[in-house]
């Protein structure tokens, strides 16, 4: 594979002495949309959490742009949208601006960037509404907008369509195709995989079975 942005070697992860991930080798290509397909409990979410640097590995090595990853190194480069995202108890605007504020981005720039993302995801009318009052689908879009606005090197999405209706699925899919970022997304939907994936990976019982 050309230009792997991230590479995993001999990665093992277990909970309570049971292996949930056992991956001898796996790499992800830069600027491609990767889809990880697998049933519930196969290790998809754990893999994304490890890549997002919020879950520690028991064994193995992770390389980002050929450099071995240290603890916390990837936090500002990779962003994960959780399967059931947490929405802060504040306005939709503040929710989306969170990552930018953390990075001390200037107010004017925050306003501009947030406005663009709000428009792209059709969330303008909710700008000043409290995020926790939205429907599950809208909350999911806020979480996606919150990740996109910080323009990460890699975007990880854990079953991002679970709460979305067909119209919004289409909207998000178009947006993902447009971004030209490295995206890793989990799903259980084979049709979606064929529709979107540049690269697809299947995972079962913690083992990558096909790439």
């Amino acid at each position: 594979m050309k230009d792997p942005i991230i590479k995993l070697e001999n990665l093992k992860k277990s909970y309570n002495h049971t292996f949930v991930l056992d991956i001898p080798y796996l790499e992800f290509e830069a600027n491609k949309l990767h889809i990880i397909l697998g049933p519930n409990g196969s290790g998809k979410t754990t893999l994304l959490s490890i890549l997002a640097d919020i879950e520690k590995i028991d064994h193995g090595k992770i390389y980002y742009k050929n450099k071995e990853v240290d603890n916390g190194m990837l936090r500002r480069k990779i962003t994960l949208v959780l399967q059931s995202p947490y929405i802060f108890n504040t306005t939709v605007f503040n929710n989306i601006a969170y990552g930018l504020k953390i990075r001390s981005v200037a107010k004017k720039e925050i306003d501009d960037k947030v406005s663009v993302v709000l428009k792209k995801l059709g969330l303008e009318k909710f700008t000043n509404q409290n995020g926790i009052q939205l429907s599950q689908g809208e909350m999911h879009k806020v979480a996606i907008a919150r990740a996109l606005v910080i323009d990460p090197d890699m975007l990880l999405l854990d079953e991002p369509y679970s709460d979305l209706d067909p119209f919004n699925i289409q909207l998000v899919e178009n947006l993902l195709k447009e971004t030209k970022k490295t995206i890793i997304m989990t799903t259980q939907d084979k049709d979606q995989t064929h529709r979107l994936a540049d690269v697809f990976i299947t995972i079962k019982n913690g083992k990558v079975s096909y790439v």
Partner: protein, 229 residues
Amino acid sequence: MGFFIEGIKSALNLLFSFNRDVYSAVFLSLRVTTLSTLFAAIIGVPLGFIIGLNNFYGKRVIIVIFNTLYSLPTVLMGLFAYGMFSRNGPLGSLGLLYTPQAMIIGQTILIFPLITALTISAVQAIDKKVFKTCLTLGANYLQSSLTAFFEYKQLFVAAVIAGFGRAFGEVGVSMMLGGNIRGYTRNITTSIAFATAKGEFALGIALGLILLLVACLISILLQFLQRGK
């Protein structure tokens, strides 16, 4: 029954005639309890947050200690503090015994374990997704913790209000460290005890009504905050 009705009538008379003894006790109680709650919150909330957030060896033992301390009888805490501030005690040279300052320190010691223990419980109630979300959006450990704190601020405020309630209604520490000096260290609870001992039930009931009113306000505030989350 007539005894209580007469007592309440006299009490209302004392309240609406702005009786000096009544209002001096009320203002002292408010001043001492507000300051002791403030100091206990400054120590207890961050301490409880750190203990609750981190996993370390001996954490369970520390939680048991705080849970034990917060249910300790106030007279026992008063006795301990009295020993510290009495002339022969380690802090006797400060000359604080029988002053409002000693009452503030005593109440701070009394309620800080309660605030700490309730803060620990509050931290354990935080949805772990808050931290995950903050971290994946690029926040560091401190920023994630602060975000979680503000997301669940009602629970921490509730812990502080519960501390205020305990300090406002306690009598042991105030009596032993304040000495119940009229117009100086006599607060609501020591006044009630003193008035009852002297047979001045009207004064006792008047102050009891104020105590009840504050307890009611605290309860309403707690319910309001808990509904907020």
